[in-house]
Symmetry: C2
Subunit: 438 residues, 2 copies
């Protein structure tokens, strides 16, 4: 019998505690699966005194994450503290430099320092596993890194942030505003007091940067991701989407184009019949378009202590079994640089909602301006004005005009809308939402 794998865990919050519990509860199965035991031998946490429903007898308390990472008795350093930089970063570096393996659930850190850490892991022969960093228990890292090892990837996209999907789902189902649903999400603990990181798309962007690296063999680079959040989405957009056969989701999309890898996060109209459109509430999902094969979609919990711990323990089990996958599936030296794709070159269909000053001439003006940019219109819907309100105002109230275009360039859409604004037939800013076909 091989000696047990000795694990040190930094961070005993919800996830850390669940990992300790799971390793204990599943110890017999883990031994059978790995051909050796898995044992937590040391931990550290901000407060040792804090009450925890954990049996930590016989487990050493390290005085710092760095001390734990360098501890001669541990084989694997499990980083569950969070934070893109120190102390997590130097602790992980210390572990990797000593040839130890590292497991982390820290997307911010992998998105920022992933390539550098992967190079360290490679140089010293340790593993760097981070399945829990994207989509928690959904095995998306393993699928891209191993399960599709022999298949070229054309596109990977998904719902990577449960908070945004929860808000969009409630807005759609109950006709509520963004602000109302955000407040509810905060009350229920699905959104932070400062929700910007989630609702402005940055959380999704970090996860997308990681998936893009795995899918396309590029250096993980969150700065190469175009980011747009969901706060501009109105209930009217969701209603219009429904009528037109779409649903609005905050997607992270990484796609191979003629000019390179396009990485973008933005509210997106997806066909209602697509797998991704069915994903409701806090659930996450990722779709992978492999070359020559129909899409593969993985759906599941994107967060939560138990789901995250499940992925962390699977990562540890791989190490116990002796598996040392390259962190991004290929040697770091072979990973290519990516740059931010200019969105003006993005090609696709567009949804646009404009507020027309009056019904008669506006549609014709809009159609003309689009035609000038060679944009073909798939559908154009004009809402009936609210006659009562208009009469009360003594003048026509603005009327929503909703357009769906066939594939065109973002540049062309912006030029056409700019012209429409100069024609003064609309009020306010046009709402524009990109369409992603499956």
């Amino acid at each position: 019998m091989v000696a047990p794998l000795k694990v040190g865990i930094a961070g005993l919050g919800t996830v850390g505690a669940e990992v300790v519990r799971l390793i204990d509860q599943q110890s017999r199965v883990l031994s059978a699966r790995c051909g050796r035991g898995v044992r937590v031998v040391a931990v550290c946490a901000r407060s040792k005194a804090k009450k925890r429903a954990l049996d930590l007898r016989g487990v050493e308390w390290a005085r710092s994450p760095l001390a734990l990472a360098s501890h001669p008795d541990i084989d694997v350093f499990v980083e569950l503290m969070g934070g893109a930089d120190d102390p997590a970063l130097s602790a992980i570096e210390a572990a990797l430099t000593r040839g130890k393996s590292v497991v982390t659930a820290n997307k911010a850190l992998i998105a920022k320092h992933g390539s550098k850490l992967a190079a360290l892991a490679e140089a010293h022969g340790g593993a760097l596993n981070y399945e829990a960093a994207v989509g928690a228990a959904i095995p998306i890292i393993k699928t891209l890194r191993e399960g599709l090892a022999g298949t070229g990837i054309q596109r990977v996209y998904g719902i990577l942030n449960g908070t945004c999907n929860y808000i969009l789902t409630r807005m759609e189902q109950e006709g509520l505003s963004f602000a109302e649903c955000l407040k509810d999400a905060q009350r229920l603990g699905y959104a932070e007091a400062n929700p910007s990181f989630d609702v402005d798309g940055h959380d999704t962007a970090q996860k997308l940067a990681i998936l893009a690296s795995l899918a396309f063999g590029t250096k993980v680079n969150q700065k190469a991701v175009y980011v747009e959040g969901i706060s501009s989405i109105a209930p009217e957009d969701l209603r219009a989407a429904e009528e037109l056969g779409y649903r609005v989701k905050l997607l992270g999309v990484a796609v191979k184009t003629e000019t390179g890898i396009e990485q973008r996060v933005h509210p997106t109209m997806v066909p209602r019949t697509s797998s991704i459109a069915q994903v409701m509430g806090v659930t996450n999902a990722v779709t992978i378009d492999g070359e020559g094969i129909p899409p593969i979609t993985l759906v599941g919990p994107g967060a939560g202590g138990a789901a995250t711990a499940s992925a962390v323990v699977a990562d540890i089990a791989d190490i116990a079994r002796g598996v040392r996958a390259l962190p991004f599936g290929r040697p770091v030296a072979k990973l290519k640089q990516t740059t931010k794709a200019p969105m003006k070159h993005h090609a696709g269909g567009y949804y646009t909602r404009l507020m027309a000053r009056d019904l008669a001439g506006t549609a014709a003006t809009i159609a003309t301006r689009l035609a000038e940019q060679k944009i073909s219109i798939e559908s154009i819907v004009q809402r009936h004005p609210d006659g009562g309100a208009a009469a009360a105002n003594g003048r026509s109230a603005p009327v929503p005009v909703i357009l769906i275009t066939y594939a065109t360039s973002e540049d062309a859409v912006h030029r056409a809308l700019q012209a429409v604004r100069q024609d003064k037939v609309i009020t306010g800013r046009p709402q524009v939402i990109r369409i992603e076909k499956n």
Copy 2:
């Protein structure tokens, strides 16, 4: 640089040819991913003379699968001939006995001989990988074997046969009969000339037996699977399902119960809002309920040359990287025996469609008979009789009565329906479909 992995492929049909093509096309990526090249050095096929759009220069032709499997120059024997027994079986045994690794897409063979072959692989140190055997490119084997290594599984279920799902989808969407849709499926090449293996559930049962083994640490045993096909499903059932908020799918379900592992394949009512209900046409999907975590669903192509080849090449890549996972995730000596669960103990909700002789007394009789068996009714719907037809007949035409029960035992349902039949208030055989909640 490590020497390239030398691969021998038995079977050059659609999948085999695609594997050869993919290994060639992806050779640079595979080298980067695996740290060594992957090279097809020998093949065999029923006819060497057959025209193939393949570049096989420099590739040796073995005179038989057995000769290929025993070939001293190959590291991995890839079996793509099919058939549950010889010649595939003895060739695989020959390869494993020589310490070579084996990759196969052969579900019938793994379902029948999986445990025995896994023991051979274990004893001689080779891998036995079969990702393509269930759900083609959907990484379900890897997910159960590695991705959820640290999580107890409560239930695994899915749509594992594209033919059946195609037929049920068309029946539902177009109101067609089973026979009409089967004929179309055969015309389009989705169903065999002898469709029994697919539509009677045996294909699903083989795949389920494999998934159950991985999920629950049992010896794969297709004889332990209760099997019922889709030929009894009528358009009326699909219409009723829609009205009641369900959809009918042929599911394979393996679930941990108090008395053991229940494995069953049968038409199933699933809630329309569930991920599995959204899966249409030939697409496959598997949902895994891990202990304490929300369900994870994997959706994708369950068949097709490119999708199957994708999984085969990923399996080869794992071997090239040096990974030797236990074929069923645990040592064969630790796998438990399973027996067929008696369906009369199955507990769940039931859909029943009865043809009532006349409307007035029947509902009361049925309700009474169900109450005697302590079965609670969730809903009971009586269709309006077709007055015209009834008048033309000179007597009342039978009227469909549709029942949904709360969870009860199969035994109780059968006893109640037996009593209803003896009451002579219905004609014909009652239709009974089990309900699976998510």
